[in-house]
Amino acid sequence: MPIHDQSYRHYGGDRSPQGRAWTVIAVAGIRTMLAKRKFLGLLILAWLPFVVRAVQMYIAANFPQASMLAASAQTFREFLDQQGVFVFFITIFTGAGLIANDMRANALQIYLSKPLGRAEYIAGKFAVLAFFLLLVTLLPATMLLITQVVFAGNLTFLAANLFLLPAIVLYAGVEAVVLSVVMLALSSLSKSARFVGVMYAGVIFFTHALYGVVYVVTRNTRFSWMSLQASLQHLGDVIFRVPSRYDTAPWVTVLALVIMVGLAAFVLERRVRGVEVVT
């Protein structure tokens, strides 16, 4: 009977290059979410506005009487604004448990005992949320631009609005980064995904309600930086070169968003640790 060598053996498999471990977390997270039927339903629902807008563009391109439905920069701005509802629910559905569930199951220590840095762990979780947010903002908006060109049968609109593609990429990117980082920071603050969801709703709605009170009292929209939602809307208006609904200086809005992301990054740096040192 052969007796196998049971002593220590070196790992004989391939080693992934350093800095790629986050992709494992990202892919696993995306697959987990895509396996949920309700989430798939939400994603499909989030694409319905694209279908409606595509029909609108088809009618505008084929029936001169319906020229008032023709696309403009405002159309794309409004489309991304309307996606905000889906962005909100997808952020909660996907992001609330990203770190909170790991903390609840004490899985953070296991993750960080592997050849995986904290930054890679956060990058992997960030990629999961950002992927789904871009899936309902960047992708349909870009597809809509392509659809417009296809239905019109010429490049006139695109040539007249060359800034639109970069604007879509920039706005969708900024929105995905800001919301993902804020949600990850909140997720790292609690072990309950439900509580994280409520905190996120608080950040979005409560800051907007506070701004609403200040607006009603002062009749001045310069305080829009108080609200995360209003700040993103204002930045979108500026990026898409449409008349802004807020009088806030753009640099103030950008500064407010940068401070918010900085705070979220600080929270992540403090909270995502393999060992909790109790003094």
Partner: protein, 299 residues
């Protein structure tokens, strides 16, 4: 020998006589069981880190109140206007109750605590320990619901009273004159907490992802239905709550929009009846679901 651990759900009634030792012990009545669960849950809810955090959120409108007072102290009180006209403190207070508390804080507290009544026990895999006790399952729900009500009332009402003391004196407003309105506000917030909490307890008992469902209702359906014509707005809690608001809303801008939306409001008694009915029916349905449903704990 060590003392036995205290079990708050155990029947603590001592056996009446040696002859009764062999007889089966009576399970506590519904009300008694609900009160024991209430006692147990109240301590857990009231002194949790989450409640402290939510108390900070709920208390944050006080910062606005302080800001308004500071503005007035430095002679900039005239800039505080509602609808373009110089506003009295009572009007600003009414607006804050409407925009911050009724439209945001009350639904959020309802969503968070209401959906968590059963779902938290399922998530923590502790629901088995409650369900194996010789008490009705619906008594557990009712006990937890009462604890929710007391906790949220303790969180919200002090914040409202402090805000009242800060904001109402603005622009020579009279605390005494608007005191009855404050009492109505406090009652109104209590009714709102009861109605939203019961509804979200029902959602928490029925759905696997109650938070998303609750948020869809509170910030999706309610916002949408209120601006739709016809009877759809009657299928919201906000429609009946706003009918009880004792303040007149601002006359211009956002205020006039709100006023236009809520021009046709039911009478206060009709609203109270609907809210009370909604609370009772939601709790009864939630109790029925909890009694019948088999909660499968994820491994």
């Amino acid at each position: 020998m060590s003392e036995p651990l205290h079990d708050p759900l155990a029947d603590t009634t001592p056996p009446a006589a040696p002859a009764a030792v062999g007889a089966p012990r009576q399970a506590p009545a519904f009300a008694s069981a609900a009160m024991r669960v209430f006692d147990l849950s109240l301590g857990q809810m009231l002194w949790s880190r989450r409640t402290i955090f939510l108390a900070l959120i709920v208390g944050s409108p006080l910062a606005l109140g302080v800001l308004f007072r500071v503005l007035e102290m430095f002679g900039m009180g005239g800039n505080i206007r509602v609808g373009g006209a110089s506003a009295a403190g009572a009007t600003i207070f009414g607006g804050m109750i409407w925009i911050l508390y009724l439209r945001f804080i009350i639904p959020v507290l309802g969503v968070f605590y209401g959906t968590a009544l059963i779902a938290d026990e399922v998530d923590d895999k502790t629901i088995t320990y409650l369900f194996v006790r010789p008490i009705s399952r619906s008594a557990i729900l009712v006990g937890k619901y009462l604890a929710y009500l007391v906790t949220t009332v303790f969180v919200v009402l002090p914040s409202v009273v402090l805000l009242y003391l800060l904001v109402v004196p603005l622009g020579q407003g009279s605390l005494a004159a608007s005191f009855p309105a404050l009492l109505k506000d406090l009652g109104l917030l209590g009714v709102g907490l009861a109605a939203y909490g019961a509804l979200f307890a029902l959602i928490g008992a029925q759905f696997k992802h109650p938070l998303v469902t609750g948020l869809v209702f509170a910030f999706g359906w309610e916002q949408l239905a209120l601006v739709l014509p016809g009877y759809l707005r009657r299928l919201t809690i906000a429609y009946y709550l706003q009918a009880l608001v004792p303040h007149s809303m601002p006359q211009e801008g956002l205020g006039s929009v709100l006023q236009a939306l809520f021009r046709e409001v039911p009478s206060p008694w009709v609203s109270l009846a609907w809210l009370f009915g909604c609370t009772i029916v939601s709790l009864a349905l939630a109790g029925r679901i909890v009694e019948r449903r088999e909660y499968v704990l994820e491994q």
